[in-house]
């Protein structure tokens, strides 16, 4: 709990309803001071609603929101002291870049000299110092996004909220801005960031921890490595990275899938229990090896650096991402796939849930 410290965000059973429809269901989550937390989920998962509850644009039907140890649930947005950057940038079109960035400082009646200094500093930090006299419409999308970030940083917030900040940019700019955001966070290590996205790459790249959301609820929360390497739910496995999810039955010392016994670490799973085996496509190899599975090649996609093979194994679809093949096998051919026992994760077996439970708080 971060009640004493100066920053951080805590959701305490936050529920939000729209017209009798629950869009956020009893969210419990803590963002530590200085931490980057990504809220990852498909559209309609409640992640943006959670962010807006912190900003003060939606009123929770139940629960409390704490910022920096202070209960802000009843406070209007302008008294929360939170920086926010949205997908549409929302730069004020009638104000020049410098006036946009100075807006928050002027609204707080900051002395003139300090306003000018901090505006310049925020513009420098985002590399937009040379554009101070321009109007927003004279800037490209990426530049507008930088100004929006500078505007949010100028008020020196303890918490920065980012709502899909990169989804309006094209792919090249996006990866550049991701690196920029990571650099900003290194330069402002005491600022917590709550980053809403539906893009797993953004979440994996930037976040200290990822909160996975689906259908108004928090499904999973952990470091990117935890979520990627040992997902706790099928949803996490398929949303954080790609995954082959194979229905298996736990046996002594392994699992059985499509009539074959596979050697995987079964943990505390009881033999006979039904479970899901998660194998990442890029960890699947072609040809014989440990845990060999035989199937029919149904589809080949060439993706430049890799080939993606879709193979039907005992009525199930299995994906394999392989380093570019000189000569991919013909469609309909009988192929062998394999994976190392340590590369597979058993999900949802009875008896594993309790032992695997991660602390959300």
């Amino acid at each position: 709990m971060s009640d004493r410290t100066g920053s951080g965000v805590r959701f305490d059973g936050v529920t939000v309803d729209y017209d009798g429809h629950t869009v956020l269901d009893a969210l419990d989550l803590t963002v530590e001071p200085g931490e980057v937390m990504a809220l990852l989920g498909p559209s309609g998962s409640g992640k943006t609603t959670a962010l807006r509850a912190v900003a003060g644009f939606v009123r929770p039907a139940a629960g409390r929101v704490h910022v920096g140890g202070r209960d802000v649930t009843g406070l209007p947005p302008h008294r929360r002291g939170i920086g926010m950057v949205v997908q549409s940038y929302a730069l004020f079109p009638h104000l020049r870049v410098a006036d946009n960035v100075a807006f928050g400082l002027r609204a707080r009646r900051t002395p003139k000299a300090e306003t000018a200094a901090r505006t310049a500093e925020a513009l420098e930090l985002t590399g937009m110092g040379a554009y101070a006299r321009r109007h927003p419409r004279e800037l490209s999308g990426g530049q507008q996004q930088r100004v929006a970030i500078a505007r949010a940083l100028a008020i020196r917030p303890d918490v920065l909220l980012l709502d899909e900040p990169l989804s309006a940019l094209d792919a090249g700019l996006r990866s550049g801005m991701l690196a920029e955001l990571a650099r900003l966070h290194r330069e402002l290590p005491h600022m917590s960031m709550l980053y809403v996205t539906h893009d797993q790459v953004e979440a994996l790249t930037l976040a200290d921890r990822i909160a996975v959301m689906d259908r108004a609820r928090l499904r999973d929360c952990g470091t990117p490595q935890e979520l990627y390497r040992s997902p706790r739910t099928e949803f996490t496995a398929s949303f954080v990275g790609n995954a082959n999810l194979l229905p298996v039955t736990v046996t002594a010392g392994g699992v059985s899938f499509a009539g074959r016994t596979l050697k995987v670490p079964a943990g505390q799973a009881a033999p006979g229990a039904a479970a899901t085996l998660c194998v990442r496509p890029h960890l699947v190899g072609l040809g014989p090896g440990p845990n060999t599975l035989r199937g029919t090649l149904a589809e080949v996609q060439w993706r430049g650096a890799t080939h993606r093979l879709t193979v039907h194994v005992g009525g199930h679809r299995m994906l394999a991402d392989l380093r570019e093949l000189r000569e991919p096998p013909p469609l309909g051919a009988e192929v062998e796939l394999h994976f190392a026992p340590d590369d597979a994760v058993l999900i949802g077996a009875i008896g594993t849930e309790a032992g695997h439970g991660r602390d959300h708080r």
């Binding site: 302008h78 939170i82 929302a90 079109p93």
Partner: protein, 265 residues
């Protein structure tokens, strides 16, 4: 609708000209022609003269023009303040409240303006609201009549305004009043300007309610056009009407210049 063939385009222009010329252009041209005439017994007016204009821009007509301009400017300003305020307040009310307020503001337009004039006359002829016999009763009636348009166009612009601006400003620590002054009003400026133009033009041409109300010392130009025509001085009336049109158009032109300047800022 796009017309793709050259013949189709020519036909469309011909139909447009056929409808536009007699309905909109000709009557105005006739008034313009009549304002320079001394006699119109044949197909065309005769006896060209500028004498009507000589009388139209001095003495009582000039006074009436000033009265009209002051009335229209004051009424538009009041309508803009009241209409914009109500639209901004309605924005916070939610859908039901907004609909009720919209209906209330449209009422003076839905009711015949003669009835509005009569209502204002009856309502303000008794103390404590004794406005009858003063210029204020005319200005009040004009304000009531044009506020609907100010309210409607500001309301429509507000609904188009992206709430993200207001929210961004609030998240930066701006109080609601600061958001209104520094973000919402500047963004609404073009529609406020357009609403001002509309209100001004409507007020400049208002006759029916004014006829019920005007005191002897506050005689707007449309009333003078009417009385001149009613006496049979058609050509003098035409000249007055042209002066009225020109003055209104000049003000609208100035307003639209301001608007484009604001948009290009």
């Amino acid at each position: 609708m796009l017309v793709h063939t050259a013949r189709g385009r020519r036909t469309a222009w011909a139909v447009f000209a056929l409808l536009f010329t007699p309905l909109f252009a000709l009557p105005l041209l006739v008034v313009l022609a009549a304002s320079f005439a001394t006699n119109w017994s044949g197909a065309l007016p005769s006896g060209p003269t500028a004498a009507h204009y000589a009388t139209a821009v001095r003495g009582e007509p000039l006074q009436a023009l000033a009265t009209s301009l002051v009335t229209a400017a004051t009424a538009s300003l009041l309508a803009l303040v009241v209409g914009a305020w109500a639209a901004l307040a309605a924005d916070a009310l939610g859908r039901r409240g907004r609909r009720v307020l919209d209906a209330l503001f449209v009422l003076p337009v839905a009711v015949p303006s003669v009835a509005v004039g009569l209502a204002v006359l009856v309502a303000y002829s008794q103390p404590p609201f004794l406005l009858n016999g003063t210029r204020w009763i005319v200005i009040l009636a004009h304000t009531v009549l044009v506020t609907a348009f100010a309210h409607q166009s500001v309301g429509a612009a507000l609904r188009r305004l992206d709430p993200a601006y207001e929210q961004a400003a609030a998240s930066l620590g701006a109080r609601p009043l600061h958001v209104l002054r520094r973000v919402k009003l500047p963004l609404l400026l073009p529609s406020l300007n357009a609403a001002a133009g509309l209100c001004f033009a409507l007020s400049m041409g208002e006759l029916s309610a004014t006829m019920m109300l005007y005191p002897p010392d506050w005689l707007p130009l449309p009333v003078l056009v009417f009385t001149a025509t009613d006496r049979g001085s058609l050509f003098t009336g035409s000249a007055l009407a042209v002066v009225l049109m020109a003055a209104t158009l000049l003000v609208l032109l100035a307003l639209s210049r301001l608007r484009t300047r604001a948009a290009h800022r």
